[in-house]
């Protein structure tokens, strides 16, 4: 099977979905109105509310939602063969993620650009907000733990990426200082910064960083995880302009470079997909759980992800120029992420020399180290297609993934800290109000999770990946619920949002129960507790959905709106 065929079919699928389904949803369900005065005009302030060209806004939305997750999930899920992952990514992007992202954008722009958290309170009720807070806290906890493990794994499998991955910090800080404090324009610092970054990648090949097997009794992976959390704690306290913003700028560029390089290499080199289309039987021998329902929670970002709703409602909706741009920005934003997931599938199935090599990698256990499969497979494809040295290609892709994951950790810890500080305010616990203590609590809980889940942060650490995907989809479920209620209030069809909602909740519950049994059998009690917590949250979301939809159907309006300020945690910006 030619990888070109896979890429072309996938991209054609996305295109058709955009042309047909998104047009239908936009015109018949959301009924987007070009005359509607969007919040960016209503509250224009030049800071948050800024009417923005739809191409530019799409770029920002896409780079904010794209992260390491749409790479890791699909690269793990190909263990069941490429076909199930491929179908879920393509169909999920069109029928789930597209509707969800665009819907969140629409819902928010119709409600003064409020965030999903604020909408949860306004539209579902105070309990809706509590559920939202629980889900988002679980999600942040897991995203930070999981990404620390992903980065640690990449550092171990691709030591040449370590140098550039850390070198980007001084580069970004210098750019930030020059641009923001010295008032030097963006041009020269950016060019010099990018050149330095690529030099660092090139140089990294000659100075791979390999940690000793064991440092004070901790494995190399554990040491990396700890170092990463020290970094995340420091980075999350700094003002955004010091590190986060200039690094986001580099990430955005890297994203487009990597996507272009991988797709160009596929088109030129036409690698063959060595993995089987269907591998269900072998997968279960290799220890993978049943494809249904686990596939649907293993690939969250890339098929449907609640994080997108946070970006859509907190940030993007404030910059929407016209309501009709919802279609372009929302649907195509989701499609961009689908494209990234598709690239990950191709890299993890066509980047291996033979079926035997592929089987050897994936038979090592579930979940496989997906990012490493992506980096090594992708590098192979880039080498064949474009002739770039394998090692350099590996470094390039690994650095991209690391930068994404690290930015997410930085943002994740920051948001967690806001939530903890908010709890400190609500429950009047003075200690938690402080920035430092709150950060330490956030980082401490993430480290506990990373170690508790991975048995010392080793390669087994990705075992919580499906739980992470589940939580992410729970958040998407809440967003879909909000969209459905808004549609119901306007007497519009709700099946296009309620069916995905029901699907997500059933898949989540089912997957959680299956995993609960697995954790029990293998004696992983820590993960059992986590699983039960998420199961509880799932049931709360489901009950909330049923009661809120029924209430709305009976004509009961939303509970009296309160004028509560949205918490800073709801202005999330990355996944």
């Amino acid at each position: 099977m030619s990888a070109i065929l896979l890429a072309v079919i996938g991209l054609l699928g996305f295109l058709t979905g955009y042309q047909v389904y998104s047009r239908f949803i936009s015109e018949k369900v959301f009924k987007l109105d070009p005359e509607f005065r969007t919040p960016s005009h209503e509250f224009e302030d030049g800071v948050d509310y800024v009417p923005t060209n739809k191409f530019v806004l799409w770029g920002h939305h896409f780079t904010s939602v794209a992260g390491a997750a749409p790479i890791v999930g699909p690269a793990i899920a190909v263990v069941w063969g490429w076909l199930p992952a491929f179908l879920w990514v393509v169909l999920g992007t069109i029928f789930f993620a597209g509707v969800h992202d665009a819907g969140a954008l629409w819902a928010s722009s119709r409600n003064k650009a409020k965030s999903i958290g604020a909408l949860a309170e306004d539209i579902i009720g105070p309990r809706g907000r509590s559920v939202f807070m629980i889900v988002i806290f679980l999600l942040l906890l897991m995203v930070n733990a999981v990404f620390a493990i992903v980065i640690a794994n990449l550092f171990l499998s691709t030591p040449s990426s370590v140098f550039a991955a850390w070198a980007v910090i001084p580069i970004a800080v210098t750019i930030g200082f020059l641009v923001y404090r010295r008032g030097v324009g963006l041009g020269i610092p950016s060019v010099v910064g990018i050149v330095l970054l690529y030099l660092a990648m090139w140089g990294g090949q000659y100075m791979p960083v390999v940690l000793p097997e064991s440092v004070v009794g901790l494995g190399a992976a554990s040491v990396w995880v700890l170092l990463l959390f020290v970094y995340a704690a420091v980075a999350s306290i700094l003002p955004v302009w010091v590190l986060l913003q200039p690094r986001d700028y580099i990430n955005g560029l890297q994203l487009f470079v990597a996507l272009a390089v991988v797709y160009a290499a596929v088109l030129i080199g036409n690698p063959q997909v060595v993995a089987p289309a269907w591998n269900g039987a072998a997968a279960s021998e290799w220890g993978a759980p049943s494809l249904i329902p686990l596939l649907f929670v293993t690939i969250a970002c890339g098929a449907i992800s609640g994080f997108h709703g946070l970006v859509s409602s907190g940030t993007t909706s404030k910059q929407l120029n016209k309501e009709t741009d919802v279609r372009f920005v929302g649907f195509l934003g989701a499609t961009g992420e689908g494209t990234l997931a598709l690239a990950a599938i191709i890299a993890a199935t066509a980047g291996f020399a033979s079926l035997a090599d592929w089987s050897a990698f994936y038979s090592a256990g579930f979940p496989a180290d997906g990012t490493t499969a992506f980096v090594q497979g992708g590098a192979q494809i880039v080498n064949q297609g474009l002739g770039l040295p394998v090692l350099f290609s590996q470094t390039l892709l690994a650095v991209m993934a690391v930068l994404f994951a690290a930015t997410t950790m930085d943002t994740g810890v920051r948001l967690q800290r806001y939530i903890i500080q908010e709890w400190g305010e609500i429950y009047n616990i003075p200690a938690l109000k402080g920035r430092l203590v709150a950060t330490l609590v956030a980082v401490g809980s993430c480290i506990a999770l990373a170690f508790g889940a991975g048995g010392g942060g080793g390669s087994g650490g990705l075992i919580i990946w499906p739980l992470f995907g589940t939580t992410n989809q729970l958040l998407a479920g809440l967003t879909l619920l909000i969209i459905s209620i808004l549609l119901l209030q306007r007497k519009r069809a709700i099946r296009y949002t309620v069916v995905p909602l029901a699907f997500i909740l059933v898949a989540a519950t089912w997957a959680l129960i299956i995993q609960l049994r697995g954790f029990y059998e293998s004696g992983q009690y820590f993960l059992m507790v986590l699983d039960v917590l998420i199961l509880g949250a799932t049931i709360m979301v489901a009950l909330e959905a049923i009661s809120a939809l029924q209430r709305t159907r009976r004509g009961g309006g939303p509970p009296a709106p309160t004028t509560k300020e949205p918490s800073p945690a709801e202005t999330a910006r990355s996944s």
């Binding site: 800071v47 948050d48 060209n53 770029g59 920002h60 963006l186």
Partner: protein
């Protein structure tokens, strides 16, 4: 023909430029706004019950800041002016 292509390229160039610059503009504008908000708080602090050693002197800055005042308190989530004697809406 060439004219049209050049025109398109120029438009594309300015879009790409805007794509990169806009977030930075947002960050800077936010920092400036936060700084100005803090200043606002210092100047109006006496009225919010925070003792100010220099209310007599901050008074002379209030007229200058008056234009920003409404903007500020609405952004702080207070729909009406929070100050007893300083209603602007």
């Amino acid at each position: 023909m060439l004219q049209v292509v050049l025109e398109k390229l120029r438009a594309l160039g300015s879009l790409v430029r805007e794509f990169y610059i806009a977030p930075h503009r947002g960050v800077v504008a936010r920092e400036k706004r936060d700084e100005d908000d803090l200043f606002m708080l210092l100047v109006f602090s006496e009225m919010m019950g925070i003792p100010n050693p220099a209310s007599y002197y901050t008074l002379e800055m209030q007229p200058i800041l008056y234009e920003r005042f409404h903007d500020w308190h609405t952004r702080m989530g207070m729909e009406k002016s929070p100050l007893e004697g300083f209603r602007c809406c």
